[in-house]
């Protein structure tokens, strides 16, 4: 089951990479070249490299379809907690735009410690508050970062 999910995931990822490559290739043709000659045109390198990307993406896709071996490391990725945590990280980045930096960060750290069962709740609260307070003070004083 995991192998099937990994395989379809890899094929899906390779299709996305191919689409990205094709998008860049198409966009490169529309770069305004002005009066420049063919080989000194601002289009030349993007077109060549996007074409290389397309070829490599196609080769990688073929390889993904052909291969049957599933590595142990990548199997773990399809556990739901993994994807959920990536989603929560994006919520954290979004929350930074709405909430004070310290509040969003402390909440994210607290969630992380509880989610990964790293620490019991009380220790997790203290650790997340401590990490945020110490880090922000240190970075503000030592690295002159204005939060």
């Amino acid at each position: 089951m995991k192998a099937v999910r990994y395989k379809s995931g890899e094929i899906g990822a390779n299709i996305v990479f191919l689409l990205v490559a094709m998008f860049f290739l198409t966009s490169s043709f529309f770069i305004d070249a002005g009066n420049s000659q063919a080989l000194s045109s601002p289009k030349i390198v993007p077109i060549l490299l996007s074409a290389v990307m397309v070829v490599c993406a196609v080769l990688s896709l073929i390889e993904a379809i052909k291969t049957r071996q599933v590595s142990k490391a990548t199997e773990n990725v399809f556990q739901l907690p993994v994807l959920t945590y990536v989603g929560v990280f994006f919520v954290y980045v979004g929350a930074l735009f709405l909430l004070p930096f310290w509040l969003a960060s402390a909440a994210f750290l607290l969630f992380s410690f509880l989610y990964w069962k790293s620490l019991p709740p009380v220790k997790a609260i203290l650790a997340s508050a401590g990490v945020v307070a110490v880090s922000m003070t240190l970075f503000a004083k030592v690295f002159y970062i204005d939060f």
Partner: protein, 486 residues
């Protein structure tokens, strides 16, 4: 004097942080330098570089601690150290294995610093005579070195390198001044910020990947004696000098770096040492001597092409180029003539770092072992937070945090499907150089490609660059061939 003391203290802090990062499997020198480059944006360049050099030296040595105690290299350049370091630890000589790693890294580091000090001005003097086509060849050379990061698939490495180049070209075209690949967005006119991309690709993606690996390892706690016997140290000195020289030479080849240097040094030791202390692979001191002296010597070597040609010697030096850029500097031969004090400061910081990791390595082994034993699910969330602060610190902008998150996820997906990340960073660094030098060359030859090839064929410098490419590719394919043969 006060400035010198300041540099020494910053280097000491960087070295200590580097050893800690290097000692934690999964966290790399590249990641630590990437985070620090963004954080030191508000500092003067000499202070920032002092800490970065400390981290670089410290992390390469730090990688050997876990290589010996857990059989997991903390840094790629310590892979070979596991071969003999871990068997030594298993038979109760973990302390002596780390002691050897520390003293040999120190000696190798000194040779590397000496080579950097002597070699850089010489190469910079030659590089001043470089024509645009030579820089173009060097950029091509750098890009093609993705093979050394291929991890099994050259196609995947080429894909990420090409993506890096194309993304590096987003923004205003340096020659025409016209926007390129900006899709009408004002956000893209400035181009992709190199440091933000590096932070996401090397920092966030690596932490996410480690969290998902959720690995735990048994750490050997009893280490015993740390200081290697002085008579053995003297006996191995000729081997140390030979393997350190290998480290410098291999490290100086752009894109090759410490891992291949330590592999070649180990191979040399195996072939030349007649009566090792134990058979190689079963706890030979000579194995640790060769690997560790070479990988730290390679640091000095890797910095030479970065400073003189603007071509990164390895992934860390690619990130250090980002540090130069955010401080408005462009590595290359002119950097050596315009700001010689910066070069002296880099040499001095590396020298300080070499002494500091010897002191820290010998005195703080036990706290390092405790730290290595802390579960990753406690250490990693705070590192994500520091990565976010790092991205924010570049311009005090949350948009940069969002970009970093984007690159972090891109890097994470790449890691899942075994698309190597260093080529993308190489592409981001070298892409604009390649584009600009190629087009300027074509403009000067009025678009005639045959004339360009003719110019390369009669220029001694261009031919030397082509020869350097040949040597490097030979070494790269030799390594691939050996890996395939097992």
């Amino acid at each position: 004097m006060e400035h010198l003391l300041n540099i020494a203290l910053l280097t000491a802090g960087g070295t200590l942080a580097g050893i800690l990062v290097g000692a934690i499997p999964g966290l790399s020198a590249t990641m630590a330098v990437a985070i620090l480059v963004s954080l030191t944006y508000g500092w003067d360049v000499t202070s920032a570089l002092a800490v970065i050099m400390g981290i670089y030296q410290g992390a390469v040595f730090g990688g050997s601690i876990t290589a010996c105690l857990i059989n997991i290299p903390g840094a790629p350049s310590s892979v070979v150290t596991t071969l003999d370091g871990y068997p030594l630890a298993k038979r109760g000589e973990g302390g002596i294995a780390i002691g050897w790693a520390c003293t040999e890294s120190f000696l190798g580091g000194l040779v590397g610093v000496l080579a950097l000090w002597i070699g850089t001005p010489l190469i910079a003097r030659i590089a001043i005579g470089f024509a645009p086509q030579d820089y173009f060849l060097l950029a091509i050379f750098g890009i093609l070195l993705v093979g050394s990061f291929a991890e099994g698939s050259f196609g995947k490495a080429m894909f990420t390198a090409s993506l890096g180049i194309v993304m590096g070209l987003i923004g205003l075209d340096l020659i025409t001044g016209m926007p390129r690949l900006t899709f009408g967005s004002d956000l893209l006119v400035k181009g992709v910020d190199l440091v933000t991309a590096i932070l996401g690709l090397f920092g966030l993606s690596e932490v996410l990947y480690q969290l998902y690996q959720n690995s735990s390892a048994h750490v050997i706690q009893k280490v015993g004696r740390v200081l290697p016997p002085l008579n053995l140290l003297a006996r191995y000195l000729p081997l140390t000098l030979r393997t350190s020289s290998i480290g410098v030479l291999i490290g100086a080849l752009p894109g090759v770096g410490g891992p291949i240097a330590s592999l070649m040094a180990y191979d040399h030791a195996k072939r030349t040492v007649k009566n090792p202390s134990s058979p190689f692979g079963e706890g030979a001191y000579e194995g640790v001597v060769a690997s560790e002296s070479a990988n730290n010597a390679a640091i000095g070597g890797a910095i030479i092409p970065m400073l003189t040609l603007g071509i990164p010697g390895d992934a860390v030096t690619a990130v250090i180029i980002g540090a130069f850029q955010i401080h408005g500097l462009r590595p290359g031969p002119m950097l050596m003539t315009e700001t010689p004090e910066l070069f002296n400061m880099i040499v001095l910081s590396l020298l300080f770092a070499t002494f500091f990791f010897l002191i820290f390595g010998m005195l703080l082994i036990k706290p390092f072992i405790k730290l290595v034993s802390i579960p990753q699910n406690i250490l990693l969330p705070p590192i994500i937070f520091i990565t976010v602060i790092g991205a924010y610190a570049i311009n005090s902008s949350l948009i940069d945090v969002a970009w970093m998150a984007f690159f972090g996820i891109v890097g994470f997906v790449f890691k899942l499907y075994k698309f190597p990340i260093p080529p993308m960073v190489l592409g981001l660094v070298l892409g604009p150089l390649m584009d600009e030098t190629f087009r300027r060359t074509m403009i000067s030859y009025r678009g005639n490609f045959g004339d360009l090839l003719g110019a390369i064929a009669v220029s001694p410098i261009s031919l030397s660059v082509v020869a350097l490419m040949g040597v490097t590719f030979y070494l790269m394919f030799r390594k691939t061939g050996k890996a395939k043969r097992g």
